[in-house]
């Protein structure tokens, strides 16, 4: 095998076999935050959702916002690996496993919240149709039952997709392992991959198939999530443009997160040869495009409401959000999601890793406030003025959101520690053929 390929192989496997010094402290810190998360979750389970800030009318607040936010962030992973795979974008291969892992860990977080915010979480399984002694079934006109299927499907498919792509590299890790223990562990996870040409062919086709179904999945999942609001009659929720609008926002925030994670990793692991400036540039373009779609959605929603002459809708959009108690969220959203990304028209901006990193943080914050504004803002002032209320998050809300971030990073550092996070075989292939 050619020497540069071997060199590349060396470089990429050493990322795992010779973990950098900073990894251990990171694992410890994020590990502790994860523990804090589960302590809080346990506390809420025991004491009741009253420990969160939710109330009537704002019965959905932080937890659902976080749920939608995390789900959305996940989307870029599948999008990159699946969509770009179908488009045979070669540049995806150096970042796709990264992005897919990101998807999975984001989905852990997302999955936590809908269950956490239930009044009686221990009955969450009632959303599944199983033959119970009550002979009562779930109610499938509710978008919440759609959510259950969509999210679990999304998680499963992403996991299979990710693992399938991983198997050849696990085999490589097995073969390159330094110690017997490593060989055994990687050997087990490699499931006996032996590089037969026939397997390779089958692998390519099935991998393509999974990519093929993952692409419509990405679109459908966030569309369904958006229907948690769109099928409601709450002014500010009841909007037909939600599905495309949410999907665009999801990919938008997802690419931002890839940047947030990829740029430091690239610097720390010195991967400039693998993740080149061109990669950053291309991702920046994606961010810009999706940002424009999102901006258009905002505009379209406003226009539709203006033309609609529904006093409740108009009040919701043009008072509650733009000038009311949720104005801060609204304007943060506009700045972070619409104004700032426009700087990406400049090539310099697209090529500056540091700038992209900072921008990506703003975008994540902006996407969070957008969801918060839509969910809680709309609820705080719907139809009867007598029932309007305010919302203030509780300490638990904050701790749990913080904790989920820590949990996400913890999982991510584990991934960096044990898994070849740059697809070795695929990059080799791209290098050589």
């Amino acid at each position: 095998m050619k020497t540069e390929a071997v060199a590349l192989e060396e470089q990429l496997t050493n990322l795992v076999f010779e973990p950098p010094k900073w990894l251990k402290p990171c694992l410890i810190v994020t590990g502790l935050i994860t523990i804090q998360l589960f302590v809080c979750v346990f506390y809420v389970f025991i004491t009741g959702v009253g420990t969160l800030g939710n109330n009537i009318p704002v019965a959905w607040a932080f937890p659902i916002t976080n749920f939608v936010w995390w789900i959305g962030i996940g989307h870029a992973g599948t999008f990159i690996s699946a969509f770009l795979l179908l488009l045979e974008q070669k540049w995806r291969s150096s970042i796709n496993r990264f992005a897919e892992a990101m998807t999975l860990f984001a989905l852990f977080q997302a999955g936590l919240f809908p269950i956490l915010h239930l009044g009686r979480p221990w009955f969450a399984y009632w959303l599944v149709p199983y033959p119970s002694t009550m002979r009562v079934w779930p109610q499938f006109r509710s978008s919440l039952t759609w959510d259950v299927v969509a999210v679990s499907t999304y998680f499963t498919i992403s996991l299979l997709f990710w693992f399938l792509g991983l198997v050849p590299d696990l085999a490589l890790m097995r073969d390159r392992a330094r110690t017997k223990r490593q060989r055994i562990v990687y050997g087990i996870f490699a499931l006996g991959w032996r590089g037969s040409a026939r397997t390779w062919q089958r692998w390519r086709i099935v991998y393509g198939l999974l990519g093929g179904i993952a692409t419509p999945l990405v679109v459908s999942v966030h569309s369904i999530v958006s229907m948690d609001f769109a099928i409601g009659i709450v002014p500010g929720w009841h909007s037909e443009i939600f599905p495309p609008y949410f999907v665009a926002g999801a990919i938008f925030s997802g690419f931002a997160l890839v940047l947030t994670l990829m740029i430091p990793a690239r610097a720390l692991y010195k991967l400039h040869n693998v993740v080149t400036t061109r990669h950053l540039d291309l991702m920046a373009r994606m961010v810009l495009v999706t940002s424009l779609i999102v901006a258009y959605s905002y505009f379209a929603e406003g226009l539709a409401v203006r033309r609609g002459h529904d006093p409740f809708e108009i009040h919701q959009l043009f008072y509650t959000r733009a000038r009311g108690p949720f104005a801060w969220a609204f304007w943060t959203t506009i700045v972070c999601n619409v104004v700032l990304p426009q700087t990406l028209w400049l090539p310099q901006a697209r090529k500056s890793a540091l700038y992209l990193f900072i921008l990506s943080l703003f975008i994540q914050f902006g996407m969070w406030t957008e969801r918060f504004m839509i969910i809680s803002g709309s609820l705080s002032a719907d139809y009867l003025p007598s029932a309007w209320g305010h919302y203030a998050p509780s300490l638990m809300d904050g701790l749990i959101l913080f904790g989920s971030g820590g949990f996400f990073l913890f999982a991510f550092f584990l991934f960096l520690r044990f898994v070849p996070f740059i697809p070795i075989r695929e990059t080799q292939k791209d290098e050589l053929t």
């Binding site: 079934w137 499938f140 006109r141 759609w146 499907t153 490589l172 040409a197 026939r198 390779w200 459908s220």
Partner: protein, 170 residues
Amino acid sequence: MSGLLARFEDHHALVEAIHALRARGYTQLDAIVPYEVEEVEHALAIPRTRITWLAGGVSTLCGALALFVLWWTNAHDYRLDVGGRPYFSFWTDVPITYETMILTCGITAFIAFFAASGMPRLHHPWFSIEGTRDGFWLAIDASDPRFDPEVASELRGVGATAVERLDDEA
């Protein structure tokens, strides 16, 4: 299983060797490659896998099943008036049906892939040969009618750098 493994410099040499052997009428050939090399696959004339058809079929069935469950639970077994909505309405059932199809399709394809590739496994004769991880190898199975242990010289003839003999009693 047993047979021979012959190592080649790069995949071009491998491809030539494959052509040569196939010309001699060898049928039970396989190759070991570090990453997918489509020339090799073409040379070996591997038939296209039918997993996609299987997955498609299964997912269609499961989709239909899902739709049936939705109808049976909400519109047949326990009819409850829910907000004056119809007991069964196809459009509200689309999302679940659709997601079910995707889910089952993926799972089928995944399982079928490993089954068809004789995986998962931990032990395989090839593993006993040093260097199968990064070399380009040609494998002849002993079950091949033209197979005989003396084929090694023949292989060297078509450019093998090393020839290893396999027998399963490892």
